[in-house]
Every structure is written in structure tokens, then in C-alpha cells.
Symmetry: C2
Subunit: 341 residues, 2 copies
Amino acid sequence: MRPTVHDIAAAAGVSLATVDRVLNQRPGVRLVTREKVETAIREIGYIRDVAAANLAKGRVYPLVFIVPTGDNSFMHGLRSEVHHATLRASIERTDIRIVEVPPFDVPALVSALDALLGQDIAGVALVATDAPEVRAAVGRLVSERIPVVTLVSDLTDSARHHYAGIDNIAAGRTAARLLGRFLGGREGEITVLAGSMLVRDHRERLQGFSDVMAEEFPKLRLLPVLEGRDDPELAGSLVSRALAQSRDIIGIYNLGAGNRGLITALKAVRPERELTVVVHELTQHTRAALVDGTIDAVLNQDAGHEVRSAIRVMKATADGQAVIADQERIRLDIFLKDNLP
Amino acid sequence: MRPTVHDIAAAAGVSLATVDRVLNQRPGVRLVTREKVETAIREIGYIRDVAAANLAKGRVYPLVFIVPTGDNSFMHGLRSEVHHATLRASIERTDIRIVEVPPFDVPALVSALDALLGQDIAGVALVATDAPEVRAAVGRLVSERIPVVTLVSDLTDSARHHYAGIDNIAAGRTAARLLGRFLGGREGEITVLAGSMLVRDHRERLQGFSDVMAEEFPKLRLLPVLEGRDDPELAGSLVSRALAQSRDIIGIYNLGAGNRGLITALKAVRPERELTVVVHELTQHTRAALVDGTIDAVLNQDAGHEVRSAIRVMKATADGQAVIADQERIRLDIFLKDNLP
DNA sequence: AAATTTTTGATTTACGTACATCAGAAATGG
DNA sequence: CCATTTCTGATGTACGTAAATCAAAAATTT
């Protein structure tokens, strides 16, 4: 059987109360005694039974998710996954609050973060807009010992405890290689559509994409990036205009949201123009487009995994527990029409 | 607060003991009373606190993993992941036993399964060899109410509760599309290397691969399948011979193990022959080959995820609990040189 | 209606930990 | 050496559930 507090008490030759004081770093234990207990803990390999401890404590984890508003499918899906997590709240002893802020709005995000200061909170997960003000606000939370996890998009040089999202540089590089290899040595122009260069995930995807294109596919020329602000309408009209302006475009990479508009624009020029297209985020729209051949590959991050991972990490961090790092690595999913879930 | 057994007792107007009898399906409760209690459970939305219940029961889950011996990297990795899981045993209340059997050996697998009959076991996970005898042995375990999970390779028409592995038809289809598109309209021969047609995962991958090749890439001709028995030596020599026999081979798909041998064979003909290669399983060898360009894509299943998922499912099944289906879906990872973890 | 069987209630202990209280022991100060 | 402070032990309750025991009530049979 697994050792308990009683075993430590016996091994260290002290009472249960003293063991408890040491374990929960309560005052009133002499240094020598504390060391005696800590040695016993190490020697018999005691591990606290977290389930029993939580039961005794009546522990609940008040968590806050700060997510952007906006009607693109990905953020919609993300909010819905957080909502799903609230349904498991009683089982998981969580108490999840969702705070919505306008997208790409630094002051709004900062005030949402600062509003949490001083509150009794076991963790904060946020989709970060990468700005110094946000970094500072996160720093304030961390210095109050509140676990902070960035979700989907990371925050440069910040004190956040964890990032629950994909490696976006790798994502951009992968998109470039897929596009390059699918185009098999052809020559032409590539147009890139992004949401905003204010968020780190988009910047990183572009960087990775540009790097591989330059290194490995010199015959493909990148056109200036179109910024669609993750808005389907805007994205669609930008792409339509670009396609009308140049007949040499043979590939498109959408590293942001707004695929609905992009797909409409593609279908409008469909039979005449032969285009290889790689986009991000598997939604009902991109899935259908993948199946009917409008799109060639979809890179995806599983919002459900990200949310569940963020919750696990926040809880573990709040308890000072370790996490299975490998289990919390968010993977980049590559979908072709053949491996759709 | 979340409702407890006391709340049900009060709501149903019965004693705690009766609630307990109903919850744990113990005898000695009249039908009408049982229904009264069950109604109360539903109405106030009671959910058993599994942590508290396990604590009270002193529950441990004795689990058995049946994995093939064999020195290919994938099975090595799988065994090591199961071993890792044993290290978390005390935390997860599991007691994991690993049973090794020779690969592709039906009688050995059957006797390993039958040896478990009558033992006190909370679940069995096995890498299935797809044969009627195995199916029958699994049926015997299931009829003794022992949860059975197939791992990596599934068992056709069997009573197993769950399959913790990837969709191998989709994997084969994906491999075909990657190979086809990477070859960009060229004409030539494709050689396929498998382990054994006795395991369902290999058969399914081949089927998916052949289907897509036939439907979408008619210029690529499939050569007869080489069976390398997942043995690096044999795989290497088969491929070397095939390459020597035909100068028209432009693509290779290894849907089994034994990549070490394949990679050696490829390097031997390297500068002259231009080959596009897709293989399964990310190991140190395939990773290096991907980086140096010997291989173009690696399809992978994460053995760690599979093992952890199998454990979660066996525990949940033993307790008659539901699982988050989405969380237990094992995904097909596609690795190019850009998105290696 | 009595005897019997079946069902229900009341109560207790246990799981491993947290936390509080109070008395007593040991260490420290003067 | 005494007074004081600091430490330690002993004990009890709680968390939510499981499981056992025994008594009492209700239903069933004779």
C-alpha cells in the first residue's frame, strides 16, 4: 500500500499534527523537527493523495477565461469549448467564469485582467494580444501568485506560467512546405491572408511561412500580406481583389480566421483559376471546402484540447503540482480530405 | 454546493442506508422504494463523487497490458510508455502488469488472454492480432465483465469495449494523397512495404492507400506489397532488391515498422535515385531521416496518448462511467520536417 | 392473528487528508 | 531557577462515500 501521513509520523517519530504542520507549511515546527519529517517523507516516498486532500479541503478552483468576441468560427468554437468545460464543473471542482473582450483591443484586455487583481481566483486563461501593457498586467497577476495561462496566442517575454497552444512558427513552416510541394516546382505568386499583425500567433505563422518559402521554394513569389482582421467579409473582398489584380497567383495561405469569406471568393473564380490553398482552423466551412476540393489542406489546433489542457495546468499550478509535459503539448493537426475526424 | 447522498435521502424520504443500497445495487430494496430514490437522484441531479467513493472503497485498478515483443522502435516505445504509466500507478490507483507475447503469434496471444480469466482484473489492453481465436478469447473476457481495450491494432467484429488507436484506413488514404501530391503528376511505380497482413492495422492502411491511389493518381502504379514482418533487416533487403529490379520506382510507402532497414537501403541508392518516401511512426531514426531529406513525411500515432487513453477508458468502463469521447479519439499525426516536436 | 420473511432505518467505522483546539513539553530569556 | 515563549502531542471533526451491523417496521405467508 501507498504510504500515508501516519506512516510518516511513525517513521519520523513525531505526531500526526506535526507532520501536518510540515506538509502544509504551517508555523510552529522547529527546524530540526521539520528536517526529520522531510527526510522521512523522502525516504518512504510519500505522495500526498490529492483526491483525499481536495475532499478534506472542499477545494474548488475558481477559474477565469478571457476570450475575444468576434463571430469567426474559431473563436465561436473556443467559447463553446469553454462553455462545455463549465458543464463538467462540479465533477472537476472548477468554477469557470467567461469574460469576453473585443478582439485586438489592448486596453480592454488589460482592464479585464486588472479587474481580477485581489479576487480569489485559482487561475486565469487568456487569448493574449501581444503588447507591453498586456505583459505588465499579466505580470501583476503572476506576482499575486495567480496562475496565468495563455491560450491560442502567446505573450512575448511574459511571466505567464504556461502556453496552451500550438507552435505557430512550425505551423507557418508546415503550411509553406505543403503549399510548395503540392505546387511541385511550378512558378508563380502566393498571396497570404492574415488577421492582424498585433497577435503573436499570426506574426509567427507568417514568419515561419516566409522563411521556408525563401529557403526552399524560390520560384514562388510572396505578395504583400492582406490583413483581414479575422472578418469573413473583409477577408473575402481582399482576396477577390487580389485575384483580379494578378493572374499569376497560384497559391493562397490564410493564416488567420475569416475562411468563410475566403471560400466564397474562391468559389467565384473556381473553374477558371487553378489554386492550391492552405488554411487554418477546421470548421464546418473549411471542412466542406476540403471535401469539395476548394481547399487542399487545413492546419488545425484543437480548441477542446487547449481548453482542457489549460484547466489541468491551472489546477496543477495552483496546487504546486507537476504536469505531464508531454500530455500538455498541443499538437498541430494537418487535415487533408482523407483524415477528417 | 453539489448534492450529496444525504440530499437524496432527504428528497426521497428514505434513509442513507437505502440510498446506498440503490446506488450500489445492493439487494433488499422494494421496487417502489428504489424508483422513488432513482427519481430523486435524477431530479436533484446527483452525481457520485468518484474521488470520495474511490477513497472509501480503497479502490485500485489492476490492469494488464499485453504487448508484442520485437525490437522495432515503435513497440519499444509502446512498452516504454506502459512502463512510464506504472510509475504513476500510486497516484492513479492503478496496478499495471505488462505481459509480453511474440508478435503475430495467435496461440500465444490467446493463451495470454485466457490466463487472465478468473483473475481479479479491472481491465485488459492488448495489441490485437486479427484472428477468430483472438476474437473468441476477447469474448470470453468480456462475458466475465472484464473491460477490454484494443491498442494500436483493432480486432474485427469483436466485443472489445474500445479501440485506442488511429483510423488506419484514413492513415493509408492520407499517405497516398501526400505521396501523390508530392509527386505532382509524375508517372512511375510505387512500392509498398508492410509488416504482416495478419494485423488489421496494416491491412487497413494498405486498403486506404490503394483506394486513393486508384481513384486519384492513375499515373502511379502500385507494385506487389513487400512483407517485412516489422523486421529492420528483412525490410531493408526487400527494398534494396525492389529498387534494383525496377528503375521506375519513384515512391515508397512503409506502412509497417522496420524503418531502420528501409532508411539504410535508401541511403545506399541515395544521390542517383530520386524517391519520395512516406512512412509510419516517428522514432529517432525516422526523425533523423526526415530532417536530412531521406524521408518526406512521417505518419505517427502517439503511443503515450494511446496508453494513457486506454487506462482512462479501462478505469471508466470498470466503474460504468462515461468518457469524453472527443478526448479519447487518437489522432493521426502528420510530420514534415518543419513540425517535428 | 401469529409467524415468518423481506425491507428499511439508525448508527458506526473507515478511507486519507485538513484544520482547529488545548494541554503539556521543551527551549529560551532574564 | 523561574517565567515566558515556542514547539509538539493528543484528540476530534469534517469532507462524501462505502460497507457492515442490528434493530425495527412492514409486507408476506400460513
